[in-house]
Symmetry: none
Subunit: 200 residues, 4 copies
């Protein structure tokens, strides 16, 4: 029974939370190149503490990015029980776009690329998306040869246009997501030249 034991844990938990919150903001603002020092400063701790909680910067990236993917998976799961498959798919794409736009698409991509833990979260999301697309396809709302990966990639693509535009129009993706979803309609669809990717 150590006499001076527990309170330290409370600090640690609070610090970890502060760090994640700070990292989210910094990564969103500065991208994956945000410096550990700035994140520490925003969290109100020193640099060394960052590395106690996250052994490398990459681990911190993974924690932030993984959380986003997990959040999206949860949304997908909820929507998979919605009565209107078409609306569910549209909502899923919008929610995804919103989060991607908020956190920075480039950041999330960089994160998944070099981190297996994040990659796994992302794969889970992919599975959820497949379910939603399958339901919409059965209802004749989207063309037959479209997959969950297609929808996710196209959503990323629509979000990407925001970053490529100078002025502050954070929801410009809505314009392009509309066009893209129009492009998925079965009527008069052109044949697609390449197979859908299995992963992304």
């Amino acid at each position: 029974m150590p006499p001076v034991a527990r309170p330290a844990r409370v600090d640690a938990v609070r610090n970890r939370a502060s760090l994640l919150a700070a990292a989210e903001v910094e990564f969103a603002e500065r991208g994956i190149d945000a410096s550990v020092a700035d994140i520490a400063k925003r969290a109100g701790v020193v640099k060394g503490t960052v590395f106690r909680h996250f052994a490398t910067k990459d681990d911190l990236v993974a924690a932030v990015a993984g959380d986003r993917f997990a959040r999206l998976s949860a949304i997908a799961e909820r929507l998979s029980e919605s009565p209107d498959p078409g609306e569910a798919l549209r909502e899923f794409a919008s929610a995804t776009a919103e989060i991607l736009q908020q956190q920075g698409l480039a950041f999330l991509r960089a994160a998944s690329e070099c981190n297996p833990v994040v990659a796994e979260s992302r794969d889970q999301l992919l599975a959820s998306a497949d379910v939603l697309v399958e339901r919409a396809r059965r209802d004749g709302i989207v063309r037959a040869d479209v997959t969950g990966a297609d929808v996710l990639l196209l959503t990323c693509a629509a979000v990407h246009t925001v970053a490529a535009t100078p002025g502050p129009a954070p929801d410009l993706w809505r314009r392009y997501l509309t066009i893209v979803i129009d492009g998925l309609r079965p009527e008069g669809a052109s044949p697609l030249p390449r197979p859908a990717p299995e992963r992304f």
Copy 2:
């Protein structure tokens, strides 16, 4: 027979070409953060030589990126006299995608953002795109509320999906460009929620 002809320094010309080629590859692979040292190494010269040919790293970026935009503008100009406006637009989008995919989209964007010369090349391209879209619109091939900026952004977006996919499928963009262009058809088009951006 000029007795004091300028030999034009064969090696200098070769080095400049090597540097541009190396920079293209490095920028494509590593993005705009590719280091001058790596570019020099790939070109088979020392760092100092890079700075003889391009006074700053930014000048090198501009040379690579500017060239790509110029190439695209030339293509657009040629296509603007094609008899089939719909086919011309599709070809333009494909050519654009091909070059964007090859060079690295993120790099080109970063280059235009912090380099006024590159930005100008890009603006010229935008003007050319507007002409092509205008012709296609008059033919009823694309919906009325779509602009050159829209088409360029959507093409970038389609290309972006390649970078977001792991396996080596360099022309995956063809799949998504098809979907996107399908989405531009006038028939049954959903209303677009945000105005088109003026610049990009």
Copy 3:
């Protein structure tokens, strides 16, 4: 008995002191162009450590130079209450010369030129010198048209002769300071062709 006392990082304090000492020597020997790498090597730390203690090279310059000027101002203030104004002025000039000689005149000048904080220290010294000269003038010890700036400049000048001489005669300035101060006597003084500078 504070349970969480600040150890004050003994090694950090030692490193900071080593750095200042090393910088003093290097700046004295090589002038303001002494490299940060050499200073670090002499202090027995790595380059990065220098920048932890002094964010820029300029800050290090300012720390070394500012300290010297502050030391001189303190001496001037003490001497301004001495009962013998003539002796006080001579002592001030000697003390100034000693410090200037030790630190390297060119370095101190360069430091004041490009660093506002150092410039302020120097201006304060100028004010102190004016007080001492004013008192000596009232006692008829120096000619009427001489100012604090004159005395400081002439002291710098006397010190400068040491640097201009090859052999190791670090206090050669004493010889020339004597001549210069003799030149300030009121008796038989030649008219001075240019006004005294306001600053230096």
Copy 4:
């Protein structure tokens, strides 16, 4: 008898002269750190040509500095036959100051320090100064224990004050040279604490 021989020499001579002139200006303006590239540009040649005429930058420094010392030696020699020794000494000091001020004292010092050829020119000047001082001393115009080196060093010192002053007062040295020469009068001279240096 080479058929295409001489004209080249004319070019070479002209280039050498241009280089010396350009170096004078650049060294005066930027000090000894003036870059070879800038000197070449001002002279209208390329960098490589500089090194054909002067094997190292140091040699170029030596050529410029040596010329100045030679010019001063010539003046001293002429003045050593003047009927008024006091006036001759004053004129010599003024001429010296003028040239030192024009060329940059720090530059000339740096030049003599690391270049034996310049050092020799300087030694010759020292001998000339000794003659002038000896004559003035015999006339009772300067104190007995003063040497040519003293006068040169004090002249340098007076000039040094110009560089140490911010505003553009290029002949401020006249003020301090007056004070310094007043300080050399035999009447009421304080004893000098250190022997005169043999070289400088």
